[in-house]
């Protein structure tokens, strides 16, 4: 399998602050690769470096064998980049936006309308072709942005948080479209702060403060977690966390909504009795305790500890 995207020892500083700090990764051809990290981890900067919108202080990027710095025009004719913010023209209609990007990327005239139709069907935007982009819902805007990115049939797609601010149903639909693209042979690099979306990728990289924490096939990611993970559901998660953190057997205690995620080296039975003992001493009613598979979020928290 060939390496479609290669990032080697990439460094980008803004002032004294390293947005990307000696980052290296490679994405195989036809892969759906997820770049996961919290806000400010350096995801956007990495993508901007990849498509040549920013110049690295150190290191290099290669896409489809071309060096981003030296062969920028070849690289740009092959990649599609979708920035994080919706950045199409709100005063242009769906069709006008698509036509503009088709012309900008040198799509031949005869080919243009055919692709417009195909993309409109593919993204299910065809009933809205004459609607102004400003009148579209969040999910439709993202689909239009993706369609504009796809108009020149790029072989590599760089998507920066494409589903941020999109409702759950549209998010699912959007990911289905990404899967369809992958099956057509497109290589995708997607950033996301959503851990559940990471599971949909073939391969993921967790980054934090511009540094690579870990990269692995997403199915192997749970093996990174050295302990057991339990979900504890009590009446008062904040106080429960406070008291449980005082005990050595609970390696980490994190609050996720109204539940606690507690990691430990012991198995479920001794864990449950230990937890119930601590909480009953403090008079906090326990609703349930169960063993769970650690989510990428848990792993992230664990890795950052």
């Amino acid at each position: 399998m060939s390496n479609e995207i290669v990032i080697s020892d990439l460094v980008k500083k803004f002032g004294d602050n390293s947005a990307v700090d000696h980052l290296s990764l490679h994405v195989n051809s036809g892969e759906l690769y997820g770049l996961i990290g919290p806000d400010g981890a350096g995801k956007t900067t990495t993508l901007r470096l990849l498509c040549g919108l920013l110049v690295p202080d150190q290191g290099s990027c290669r896409i489809a064998g071309y060096d981003v710095k030296n062969d920028i025009r070849q690289v740009r004719s092959m990649i599609g980049y979708m920035p994080q913010r919706f950045s199409l023209y709100p005063d242009l209609t769906v069709a006008e936006n698509l036509r503009f990007f088709a012309d900008l990327f040198n799509v031949p005239k005869g080919e243009r309308e055919k692709r417009l139709q195909r993309l409109a069907q593919f993204s299910r935007l065809d009933p809205f072709m004459n609607r102004r982009a400003s009148q579209l819902s969040g999910g439709m805007k993202q689909k239009l942005a993706l369609s504009c990115t796809l108009i020149h049939t790029p072989r590599v797609l760089l998507l920066d948080e494409p589903t941020t601010g999109v409702d759950p149903l549209s998010r699912q639909e959007f990911w289905q479209i990404l899967k369809d693209l992958q099956s057509q042979g497109v290589t995708l690099l997607v950033t996301t702060p959503y851990m559940d979306e990471a599971a949909k990728c073939d391969h993921i990289a967790l980054i934090h403060c511009g540094k690579m924490l870990v990269q692995k096939p997403s199915k192997d990611i749970s093996s990174l977690f050295p302990r057991q993970m339990f979900e504890v559901y009590t009446q008062d998660p904040v106080r429960s966390a406070h008291f449980m953190r005082k005990h050595q057997e609970f390696a980490s205690v994190q609050i996720f909504g109204d539940r606690l995620h507690v990691s430990s080296d012991i198995s479920i039975e001794p864990f449950e009795s230990a937890a119930r003992e601590v909480l009953s001493q403090e008079g906090i009613p326990v609703h349930s305790i169960k063993k769970i598979t650690p989510s990428i979020e848990d792993i992230f928290v664990e890795l950052l500890r």
Partner: protein, 371 residues
């Protein structure tokens, strides 16, 4: 022309026709400005109300007052007897000027000396005051000349002591309205273009354009070219308006006028482009173009205030204000009907100025997010 440039131009055109604000700036504002400047900034004043303090009370002094009234510019609204009354007249705004004829005025022809006619002017409105002073001076001069002719051979018998310093130029609609073209073109070329590029940066669409295989020069041509057409349309509109409504004559060659206007547009667009390489948001672009182009075009170009009468430092700045050079071209062709041979210098300046700025902008206009 490349397909990419055409696509950008088409898109820019759609932006303009779908944006009421742009449309208003392009079409409504020039009309409004022509009417406003044409009617409101009018330095020609008729029926200036004056009071006469006649301390001479002779037939000569009375004939002087009558002479002023007959010119049509002055209206003697009151005759006063005492200097103390002057301030009340000014405070009530009943008169704008007071003419004081000293005792013994009629005998001056013989005595040829001493007490002159005095004018006191309400200087709270400097413009009106200046004009009043100039009219009075002229009228008195004419009067004294006519008196001298009567009494042949005798030198000018009285002197005027104006109390207000000022810009000695008299200006009128014929002068102002053609000059407006430079302001309007600056607005369309520098302000609108810097704002439209800043908008693409602000909303992130520039990022999308940068990522395409487009060259910087193609972006610049595609974004700016539509404004050349709009600017020419505006220039033609103002000319037509000034001709139809204010009867401003057009004495020179129309072809030459538009050819040199294109040179000015070129310089203005370069300013807009340079601003857009620096301004990250629309507001900043708007502000920068206001300060860098429109204000100097109004204040430091000779549009209203003669350059000679502004402070020395500002005079030096005025040398790099393109509008100053365009005003020479514009007024020269429209009002004086002069040909290109006399306009080579300002045209050359505009061309070099524009090219210099364009080069700097091109250097700064990278298809990247930062350097």
């Amino acid at each position: 022309m490349s397909k990419r440039i055409r696509a950008l131009m088409q898109k820019e055109f759609i932006h303009i026709i779908r944006d009421p604000r742009s449309l208003a700036i392009i079409f409504l504002l020039p009309i409004l400005m022509v009417l406003l400047y044409g009617y409101a900034i009018n330095f020609d004043i008729r029926d200036i109300k004056i009071a006469v303090l006649d301390q001479d009370q002779s037939s000569t002094s009375r004939s002087l007052a009558e002479y002023l009234t007959s010119s049509g510019y002055f209206l003697v609204s009151s005759n006063i007897m005492d200097r103390d009354e002057i301030e009340d007249l000014f405070l009530d705004r009943r008169v704008q000027a007071v003419l004081i004829i000293p005792p013994g005025f009629s005998k001056q022809n013989q005595r040829d000396s001493a007490d002159g006619v005095q004018i006191i002017i309400d200087g709270s409105n400097a413009n009106t005051a200046t004009v009043a002073i100039n009219y009075l001076r002229l009228a008195l001069l004419q009067y004294s000349t006519s008196q001298n002719l009567n009494a042949a051979g005798i030198s000018i018998p009285f002197q005027i002591e104006p109390r207000i310093w000022y810009n000695p130029d008299l200006k009128s609609t014929h002068f102002i309205v053609p000059g407006l073209i430079s302001i309007i073109l600056m607005m369309v070329c520098a302000m609108l273009t810097s704002v439209t590029i800043a908008r693409e940066r602000e909303t992130g669409t520039m990022e999308q354009i940068f990522i395409s295989p487009i060259r910087p020069i193609e972006i610049i041509v595609g974004k700016l070219f539509p404004y050349v057409g709009i600017a020419l349309l505006d220039a033609a509109g103002v000319l037509l308006f000034s001709y139809l409504i204010f009867n401003v004559p057009f004495r020179g060659s129309i072809l030459l006028f538009f050819a040199l206007t294109v040179v000015f547009i070129y310089a203005s667009l370069s300013i807009g482009l340079l601003i857009s390489t620096k301004a990250k948001t629309q507001q900043v672009a708007m502000l920068m173009s206001m300060v860098a182009t429109i204000l100097p075009s109004i204040l430091l170009s000779g549009f209203i205030y003669a350059i000679a009468s502004i402070p020395r430092v500002l005079q030096l700045i005025s040398y790099i204000v393109p509008a100053k050079y365009f005003l020479i071209i514009d007024r020269g062709i429209i009002l004086k009907g002069i040909g290109f041979s006399l306009l080579v210098e300002p045209t050359l300046f505009l061309f070099i100025f524009g090219s210099l700025l364009l080069l700097i902008s091109l250097k700064n206009f990278k298809t990247r997010l930062e350097g």
